[in-house]
């Protein structure tokens, strides 16, 4: 991709760019693109600014936002620009359509007003086209650009609604002597043919025709006079040049297109302005007072200022020449016309219609806007009456000064009250603000010049206008001719402001052209030299430099009163609207970003005193805005990939807002509890540990797997149990001491009577036989050796079987040992299983006979004296001499004690329990009174009991004593050794971790 280096900043830019992406300077010179019509039909329109193609349906260039289609001021539609060379704006250098009057980009005038006036005049001289006919081309001397205007005037049907011609198709009335009746600036609208002035220098030759209203602003009566025929001039402009002498009101044209506010009044003046039948009402002269619009159609401000129609409207539609003024239309009477309107040119001459003097603002009254004195009953705007708004004042007195100053005030001085802007006759009548601006009117009797017309005498020029530049050429915004009126033609009020005619040639681009608003530029604003001080025709509202103030004698009182004492120093560039201005605090919608161009040259404002700002205005004074603290956003992103590489201002694929970023606002400190903090720390430690590199398990020399270790322990225990059994008999001596509770049990059994049976409860599983059988056998053998009858029961399903086995074994052993025959059913019996747990015990305790009928085998009847004579005397638990409870769990012992305590008060209870149940059974033994009389605990208790009882052969416990000793000793040794070794290993690991 080629690179173009910007000549302004020197940075490289892609070649396809027209504007530098860094400094927005143009990289390529502007090239006048083809005319819009030359663009490919229906597809593309090439932008005239940047030369890039755009779709036909777009109106604004996609690249540079320039309008693709020529824009015409004040009109919403674009006309088909005729083929012609484009005009290059002298301010910004951009190309504009040939028909444009002002630059589309900087809003500077492309052509001088004189040229426009000349165009209009040339157009006016052309034969008017019949109404209804399509708009003609550039002919009859009319400029090509004014074709649309011409068409409007000739073709009512083609006119937009808001620009109703009214008097379309009507031939312009032959104007009277323009110098006598119609101001020069208005004359072209009225079809008058003012003297053709010379072409103003600098005006483009053959430039596009300028609208009449624009050309008329140039104050060139010739141009205005040579403006397009009346029917070609918009209605709203027509009234400016509408001669008041036009007698015959034209037929009312249907107000079908032009809005009411633009419709010309249906008055003779409106008819007189038939050539300018398109003049809007607000500019047109009210024809008939009876045609005044209904009161409700007139705004209150108009009504209050005198615009309210004093007479009912006729049938003539409002806005029509015959009809009363519609909104914006000229009031038919002085009472209807607002003062400012009447002052402009339509001051009603009717005394009864005139507003009372107190209703007319002073400034208007003094300026001649309101009728200072009763005049004839001629309707306002009528030739007899005061000139209607926008209408040609019949006399110089009627014509506003600024109007007369602009374009040739009618030479007929009128005694009628001057219109707005007209030269006030007496200085006393001039409002203060206006008088302050220009002092007493110098020539009160002079008629105000027509709008845009060339003011013949300087006195005819409105004060403010004369103050702007004295000669019509000096009036701000208005086209001036080289042969500007001499100084004496400057309106008094303007002259009083000290504004002299500018010396610069007309048409020269103003220095501050960009600052001129549209309406001002349309008025040819920057024609006067950029004043050093901000000046304004509305001098009362602006701070006028002292040096620019007119002579003291000439300055109106109101203006002089407003003149600041110390005018501000103005830098080279004109200052923006001063704060003291009435509109200083209000941004002008038309003001460019640059400072607005003042209307009054500095020289004109010399001598003016600063006005005092009213308090209410001071409160509205804008306060200095504090500079924003937010730094301006700077988009320095430069695309680096793709086809947009190297370009700036490109939308990022991922907007910055979507990019995750840390909040600038510091996160609030979290309130974490201790537990949460600990958990968080733990979690962090776990995560850290996981993140750490996994370390292989250190290999130990004696690393032994767990199963091997287990087997080793098992083997050691087995050896410890087996070896003493076979090889170390007697290694562990028999116990020589006996426990207290064991001895108690022995004593109890030893002292039992033999006539009552003993109940033995075998409440343990075969799994616990290894521990409990020795103890149970020791006690039962002792009982059997004493010859006590035994009855066995069990609350455990397998206990009965255990009991059966024990009974059988012991009986056999007793027989073998002592030769005593212990017979089942006679000496011992097994009752069996007692179901229901505690409930069964309760039932058994309550009535044992109800629970059993046969023994555990089911073959013997328990309560038969013959079968079981030892059980025959038993009817309750108290009939037993002893209750021996053999259990591995304390629950059974507890259940027996709880359920049978009340029923076996006479039968002592001996418990034979395992070593694990001893702590929970001993409380019953140590209770007071004890609930258990004796206890035999585990193997040790059995061995002690055997030793105490002196059982032959020692007994099973004694026989297993060595194995028991070996096993227990080995267990102790293994437990101690294993825990010690484990503790040492753990300590070693911890030390290693710490290291």
């Amino acid at each position: 991709m080629a690179v173009i280096r910007c000549q302004a900043c020197g940075k490289p830019n892609p070649d396809f760019l027209d504007v530098c992406q860094y400094c927005d300077a143009r990289l390529k010179p502007l090239e006048a693109g083809p005319a819009p019509e030359a663009a490919p039909a229906g597809d593309v329109i090439r932008c005239q600014a940047c030369g890039k193609p755009n779709p036909a349906f777009t109106e604004v260039c996609q690249f540079c936002d320039s309008p693709l289609k020529p824009q015409l001021f004040g009109f919403g539609e674009t006309t088909s620009a005729e083929a012609g060379d484009q005009i290059r704006c002298q301010s910004c250098g951009r190309l504009n359509p040939p028909f444009a009057e002002a630059c589309q980009y900087c809003e500077a005038r492309l052509r001088p007003l004189q040229e426009i006036a000349g165009d209009e005049t040339a157009g006016a001289t052309a034969a008017p086209e019949p109404p209804g006919s399509p708009g003609g081309g550039p002919e009859s001397g009319a400029q090509p650009g004014m074709e649309w205007m011409r068409r409007l005037s000739t073709e009512p049907s083609a006119e937009p609604d808001w620009m109703w011609t009214g008097a379309a198709g009507e031939e312009p009335e032959p104007a009277a002597a323009p110098s006598e009746e119609t101001p020069d600036w208005m004359r072209p609208f009225g079809g008058e043919q003012p003297a053709q002035p010379a072409e103003p220098p600098g005006s483009p030759e053959g430039g596009p025709a300028m609208p009449d209203w624009m050309s008329s602003l140039g104050g060139e009566p010739t141009r205005m006079e040579t403006a397009a025929p009346a029917e070609e001039v918009p209605d709203w402009l027509r009234s400016f040049g509408e001669p008041p002498s036009q007698p015959t009101p034209s037929a009312p044209a249907p107000s079908r297109d032009i809005p009411e506010w633009l419709r010309p009044p249906e008055s003779s003046e409106a008819e007189a302005a038939a050539p300018l039948g398109e003049t809007p009402d607000w500019l047109s002269t009210p024809a008939q007072p009876e045609a005044a619009p209904p009161a409700e159609e007139v705004l209150d401000w108009m009504r209050s200022s005198g615009g309210a129609p004093a007479q009912p409207a006729e049938a003539a539609p409002p806005g029509s020449p015959e009809g009363g003024p519609a909104f914006g239309a000229e009031p038919t009477s002085a009472a209807e016309m607002p003062d400012w309107l009447s002052a402009l040119g339509g001051a009603p001459a009717q005394p009864e219609a005139a507003l009372p003097a107190e209703e007319v603002p002073d400034w208007m009254r003094s300026s001649g806007g309101a009728p200072a004195e009763p005049v004839e009953t001629a309707p306002p705007g009528s030739p007899e009456g005061g000139p209607a708004f926008g209408a040609e004042p019949t006399s110089a007195a009627e014509m506003p000064d600024w109007l007369s100053a602009l374009g040739g005030a009618p030479a007929q001085p009128a005694e009628a009250a001057p219109a707005f802007g007209a030269e006030p006759t007496p200085a006393a009548e001039m409002p203060d603000w206006l008088s302050a601006l220009g002092g007493a009117p110098a020539q009160p009797a002079e008629a105000a010049p027509a709008f845009g017309a060339e003011p013949t005498p300087a006195a005819e020029m409105p004060d403010w206008l004369s103050a702007l530049g004295g000669a019509p050429a000096d009036v701000g915004g208005f086209e001036t001719r080289p042969e500007a009126a001499p100084a004496d033609e400057t309106p008094d009020w303007l002259r009083s402001m000290g504004i002299s005619a500018p010396t610069e040639p007309v048409g020269a681009p103003p220095e501050a052209a960009e600052a001129a608003p549209d309406w001002l530029s349309g008025l040819g604003a920057p024609r006067f030299a950029a004043p050093a001080e901000p000046t304004s025709p509305f001098g009362a509202f602006t701070e006028i430099p002292a040096e620019a103030a007119p002579a003291a004698g000439e300055m109106p009182d109101w203006l002089s009163s407003l003149q600041p004492a110390t005018p501000p120093e103005v830098p080279g560039a004109p200052e923006p609207a001063p704060a003291s201005s009435l509109f200083g605090a209000m941004p002008s919608p038309f003001a460019a970003e640059e400072t607005p161009t003042p209307l009054v040259p500095p020289a004109a404002t010399a001598g003016l005193a600063l006005g005092e700002m009213p308090t209410w205005l001071q409160s509205m004074r804008p306060v200095d805005v504090q500079p924003s603290r937010v730094p301006p956003e700077v988009d320095n992103y430069e695309e680096k990939v793709g086809i947009l590489a190297g370009m700036r201002g490109v939308l990022q694929a991922e907007p910055a807002i979507a990019k995750p970023h840390k909040s600038e606002v510091p996160v609030q400190k979290l309130e974490v509890s201790e537990a949460e903090a600990a958990q968080a720390t733990l979690l962090a430690g776990v995560l850290k540990a996981e993140a750490e590199e996994a370390r292989p398990v250190s290999k130990r020399r004696l690393q032994i797997a767990l199963p091997v270790e287990r087997w080793l322990v098992f083997a050691a225990l087995a050896l410890a149990v087996i070896f003493p059994w076979f090889f170390a008999a007697g290694f562990f001596p028999a116990p020589t001491t006996i426990a207290r509770e064991t001895n108690a049990a022995f004593e109890l059994v030893e002292g039992l009577p033999t006539d009552k049976p003993v109940l033995v409860a075998f409440d343990y599983d075969p799994a616990q036989r290894g521990e409990l059988d020795p103890a149970a056998q020791a006690v039962i053998f002792h009982l059997m050796r004493r010859g006590v009858s035994l009855a066995g029961v069990s609350t455990h399903p397998a206990g009965a079987g255990v009991g059966q086995d024990i009974f059988n074994e012991l009986a056999l052993g007793l027989k073998n040992a002592y030769g005593v025959s212990y017979t089942y059913g006679v000496n011992y019996i097994n009752l069996g299983y007692i179901p229901g747990g505690p409930v069964g015990l309760l039932q058994f305790a309550t009535n044992p006979r109800s629970l059993f009928n046969t023994d555990f085998s089911g073959a013997m009847r328990v309560w038969d004296a013959q079968s079981a004579p030892e059980m025959s005397p038993v009817y309750g638990l108290s009939d037993f001499s002893l209750i021996v409870l053999v259990s591995s769990t304390p629950d059974a012992i507890r259940a027996w004690i709880e359920q049978t305590q009340s029923f076996a008060a006479a039968a002592p209870v001996v418990a034979v329990v395992s070593a694990g149940a001893d702590p929970l059974v001993r409380p019953y033994y140590e209770a007071n009174p004890p609930q258990i009389k004796g206890m035999v605990t585990g193997i040790v208790g059995a061995a002690q009991y055997e030793q105490r009882a002196g059982l032959p052969g020692g007994g099973p416990a004694s026989n297993r004593w060595d194995a028991i000793g070996g096993g227990v000793l080995a267990a102790v040794i293994l437990i101690i050794a294993g825990n010690l070794l484990g503790a040492l290993a753990r300590m070693t690991v911890l030390r290693a971790r710490k290291r």
Binding site: F731, A767, V839, T846, G858, L920, P923, I964, G965
Partner: protein, 216 residues
């Protein structure tokens, strides 16, 4: 068939029977004594029937487990075979001449050679595993509780086990007796008291129909 009883009826039965039985302990009235004895007798019968129902339920569960092929169905098969075999042998023993009742030859054989043997073997293995657990007790974590436990176990073993001739006990026997009779018994007493209070509370809850384990 699932028979649903009203919660009110069940509650009334349970509460009524409980109050009558309890009242019979406080009031020495013949009628209450007779009722109490009769209710207790019925309870014994119900308990016996419950054993049968329990056995049938056990059979049903393991049959389902075996038919569904759930994990461990082989053990369920052994259980079912054992149950059916034992029950069948017991029923058929009188007819075979093996005697009658639970003490017939078959049942005795099963009891002596299977149940007792297996029980004894499991109890014996328990000794080894307990010792091995004690051997590795402090290897996983060494807390004060574990250390005290290990020390208490060693003292109890040494105090209770036979010592070789000539080996002094170092007062461990007396220490063991003290541990067994003082702190252990104290703890035992506390447990028994708690159990007793719990039994009273549970009984009252059932009597007052707060807990209704008998119904939905």
């Amino acid at each position: 068939m699932k028979i649903r009883f009203g919660n009110a009826l069940l509650t009334a039965i349970a509460a009524g029977v409980g109050f009558v039985t309890l009242l019979g302990y406080f009031v020495n009235a013949p009628i209450l004594r007779v009722m109490r004895q009769q209710l207790v007798a019925w309870a014994s019968l119900l308990a016996a029937v419950a054993v049968i129902i329990g056995a049938l339920n056990l059979l049903q569960v393991h049959l389902k487990k075996m038919t569904r092929g759930a994990p461990g169905w082989f053990y369920s098969l052994f259980l079912i075979l054992s149950l059916v075999g034992t029950l069948g042998v017991g029923i058929a023993a009188p007819f075979v001449g093996w005697g009658s009742g639970p003490t017939n030859t078959a049942n005795a054989w099963v009891f002596h050679n299977i149940q007792s043997a297996l029980g004894a073997a499991i109890a014996g293995l328990l000794f080894f595993f307990l010792v091995f657990a004690g051997y590795r007790l402090l290897r996983r974590r060494a807390s004060l509780t574990l250390v005290v436990f290990v020390v208490a176990a060693i003292i109890s073993l040494i105090g209770a086990a036979p010592l070789p001739a000539g080996v002094p006990d170092f007062g461990l026997r007396d220490l063991r007796l003290w541990l067994a009779q003082v702190p252990a018994v104290a703890g035992g007493r506390g447990l028994l008291l708690g159990v007793a209070l719990g039994v009273i509370a549970t009984g009252l809850r059932i009597l007052l129909a707060v807990d209704r384990p008998y119904g939905e």
